[in-house]
């Protein structure tokens, strides 16, 4: 082990990435029945990871060239799968993001999950996630990335289905896993194609070879498109976008951690990881751009039709991911990554805020929260508003800077239609975010007769689980007695502050991050930043764009205020007047229904049915039939042995006679 201690960077990296794994193992094996201890172990591990990540960032921030450590994980003939660490600005940044968000979420969960019977299990899964995600982020090769990518999916499955008593949670987990798996198959095939065609899956090698045009272009295009399937699955792009909203069945901190800030961003991260590789194939980039745009627009519309607070943020996550993909696919490496960074902050913030509301009011429905007096929870309310402003791209919040960066890239793109789509998206984003904010802030006094289609279902289910939750909490001695107190921050004690501090930290990040745009850009692009001519920066020509974008955001807010915020607003939204459109949006453009039907008809009803019948009737039946035939022929032959002596003799003589005849003739 001495090699480990000789190099502090390596030591930090190993500690950073493997402590969470250790904590998972310890929790699962030893401290399953000691929830407090488990949480401390897990938080201890993740905070060490955070420290190490910070150390790595500081230590390596000025190293121009990527630092790589690798050891052979697997040697199989000509395929060598390395395990190792690749430190370059992108991975260091992402590592830090993951560490920070994981840490905050785990701390937050101390409050949110307090008293849950699966407390230890929860922290074990959290550790599993942290381990997998970090190892994925600093993977030096695509196969390691793929491996931990899959593990991240596993952690996501486990966390979504955390409330396993709840049927819908299990369903959602399954859906998430299978859908991402579908994308991963493409990813996997892409990697195989690359391994067979190119031979090296090292990220640096791939990128360099692609830039140097050492790989035939058809191979790049084919494998890039296949690999992009992985992005589609993991980052919930069209057409595999519906699992993400359902994934909100998990505990809210999980939604914050996995399904907004980090895990779903893995797709985008992977895209940016091998950005030069993708960039070498214009076809793949164009398709990615189209898919990102479709995703962004579709999910924005979906967000406008739901009343579930977490669903709104989920759709918004999908839409923002689409936006990032757009940015990357349009060639804006920094823009995409920057938006990924800021988005991680403010989206985690939004989810965690929502979590506080949900925790307090035991409801996911924004109307209920509003009526229940959501505005009285001041810290979360303020924080959430900050988050929403950032999401809408309002100056000076971080979202503003990153969105502008992407808009800038889109504007630089020859075809302006993508820019228009981006602007439309910004409008809708602002609209649905503030629709939510206003509905909580200014609850309508009289119960409106709203059409409750898809939303209703979730609401009821969630009510139920929240109640279960409460009972469990009440039954647990270690619970902090928050069950009965509502509405007053003062009365909350530890639990509330466990939840509040992360919010405050995140809010701060959201507020200040935007101003680090240029230093980040310099860090990420290194010396090349100058050569690129500051792709994300706004030249003089872009002021018009800036104004347009901001005004789109403000217009959205104003629109929302008109419909939901102002006194006497109907709080119905324009969609209520367009029932068909609303149904379309609320039913997610019928993508789910289509997939469901496909699954039922083609898989369950079709192939499965045919194969099962074939198995039972033809194959197995054939064999059983053959056996019965054998027994039956035994019965038939036994007639030769009738009891009668002379008949038997006749048989014998006939046989001899036949034989003799055969030989004589």
């Amino acid at each position: 082990m001495s090699w480990l201690f000789k190099d502090p960077v390596l030591l930090a990296a190993v500690l950073c990435t493997w402590l969470p794994f250790l904590s998972m193992a310890v929790i699962l094996i030893f401290t399953r029945h000691k929830p407090q201890l488990s949480s401390y172990i897990s938080i201890g591990a993740v905070s060490t990871s955070l420290i190490c990540a910070l150390y790595l960032l500081i230590k390596l921030v000025h190293v121009g060239e990527p630092v790589e450590y690798r050891t052979a994980w697997l040697i199989a003939d000509d395929i060598i799968i390395p395990f190792g660490y690749l430190f370059d600005p992108l991975s260091l940044l992402m590592l830090l993001i993951v560490a920070v968000i994981s840490f905050l979420v785990q701390v937050y969960s101390l409050g949110y999950m307090a008293g849950d019977p699966g407390f230890s299990r929860y922290y074990a899964f959290q550790s599993l996630f942290a381990w997998a995600m970090m190892d994925m982020v600093i993977a030096p090769g695509m196969l390691q990335l793929y491996i931990f990518w899959e593990l991240v999916g596993l952690a996501s499955y486990l966390l979504i289905g955390f409330y396993y008593e709840k049927w819908s949670a299990g369903q959602a987990g399954k859906k998430a896993f299978v859908m991402t798996r579908l994308g991963d198959i493409g990813f996997f095939l892409g990697l195989i194609l690359l391994v067979l065609g190119f031979g090296d899956l090292g990220i640096v090698a791939m990128n360099e070879a692609a830039q140097a045009q050492a790989i035939p272009s058809y191979l790049i295009t084919a494998s890039a498109l296949l690999i992009f399937c992985g992005v589609i699955g993991k980052s919930a792009q069209f057409p595999l976008l519906t699992w993400l909203p359902d994934a909100m069945e998990g505990p809210t901190p999980v939604s914050a951690l996995l399904h907004s800030a980090t895990m779903v961003a893995a797709g985008v991260y992977m895209f940016s990881r091998i950005f030069p590789f993708f960039a070498a194939s214009p076809t793949a980039m164009a398709i990615a751009l189209a898919i990102g745009t479709i995703t962004m627009l579709l999910s924005s519309t979906m967000a406008m039709a739901t009343y579930d607070i977490k669903q709104v943020w989920a759709y918004s996550t999908v839409s923002q991911l689409g936006f990032m993909v757009m940015g990357l696919a349009a060639g804006g490496y920094f823009a995409g990554v920057f938006h990924l960074t800021t988005h991680a902050g403010f989206k985690a913030l939004l989810f965690l805020c929502s979590g506080v509301f949900i925790h307090e009011y035991h409801s996911n429905d924004m109307r209920d929260i509003g009526k229940g007096g959501g505005r009285s929870l001041k810290i979360p309310m303020v924080c959430m508003t900050v988050g929403a402003l950032a999401l809408s791209g309002v100056f000076p919040f971080s979202g503003f800077f990153s969105k502008e960066a992407i808009m800038g890239v889109l504007a630089a793109y020859p075809n302006k239609i993508w820019l228009l789509a981006g602007l439309l998206g910004a409008l809708m984003t602002a609209y649905y975010s503030f629709r939510l904010i206003f509905m909580i802030l200014f609850p309508k006094k009289v119960d409106a007769t709203m059409p409750h289609d898809a939303v209703h279902y979730h609401q009821e289910k969630d009510d139920k689980i929240q109640i279960d939750h409460e009972e469990a909490a009440a039954g647990h001695g270690a619970a902090h007695g928050h069950g009965s107190s509502h509405g007053h921050e003062e009365g909350h004690g530890n639990v509330f502050w466990y939840m509040a501090w992360p919010l405050i930290i995140l809010t701060t990040i959201t507020l200040v991050l935007g101003f680090f745009q240029h230093s980040l850009e310099g860090f990420l692009l290194g010396h090349a930043a100058d050569a690129h001519g500051g792709e994300g920066g706004h030249g003089a020509g872009h002021y018009a764009l800036l104004i347009a974008a901001v005004s789109m955001g403000l217009a959205g807010i104003a629109w929302a205020y008109y419909e939901f915020g102002r006194k006497g607003a109907s709080q119905e939204g324009f969609l209520a007047r367009l029932p068909k459109t609303q149904a379309l949006f609320a039913n997610r453009w019928y993508i789910d229904r289509f997939l469901r039907r496909f699954l039922d008809r083609a898989i369950y009803g079709g192939l499965t049915n045919v194969f099962t019948r074939n198995d039972r009737r033809v194959i197995d039946g054939g064999i059983d039939g053959f056996c019965l035939f054998t027994i039956g022929s035994g019965r038939l032959f036994s007639f030769l042995q009738s009891g009668m002596l002379q008949y038997n003799l006749l048989v014998m003589v006939a046989a001899v006679g036949l034989v003799v005849l055969y030989f004589v003739v």
Binding site: S638, Q641, S642, G643, M644, L645, Q646, L649, L650, V653
Partner: protein, 102 residues
């Protein structure tokens, strides 16, 4: 007429008739006699071969004598079994003996 094939044909006929008798007679004594016929067919063969072909004149005749002797013993055993059957079934019809089958 006095050729080998004549005797062989006669022997074969005798053998065939004996076989037919075994297959066709329902009377156990009849069957027993038919078996003797078959043996005698063989005996004629031995004698004929001995007479026409064999260098050592005695061999075939000796065999024939032995076969005759053994046939007698066979008949004795056969009759004793038939007797036992008769005591049980009061009949010497072979069709009485067909309980075991399959």
């Amino acid at each position: 007429m006095n050729t080998l094939s004549t005797y062989l044909i006669i022997a074969a006929l005798l053998f065939g008739l004996g076989l037919l008798g075994v297959l066709q007679r329902r009377n156990l004594i009849g069957m027993l006699i038919s078996i003797e016929l078959m043996l005698n067919g063989a005996n004629i063969n031995f004698m004929a071969f001995n007479r026409f072909l064999a260098p050592e004149p005695a061999v075939g005749q000796i065999i024939t004598l032995f076969v005759m002797g053994l046939a007698a013993a066979e008949a004795a055993i056969g009759l004793s079994i038939i007797l036992a059957l008769f005591r049980k079934f009061r009949s010497i019809n072979v069709e009485r003996a067909q309980q075991m089958r399959g």
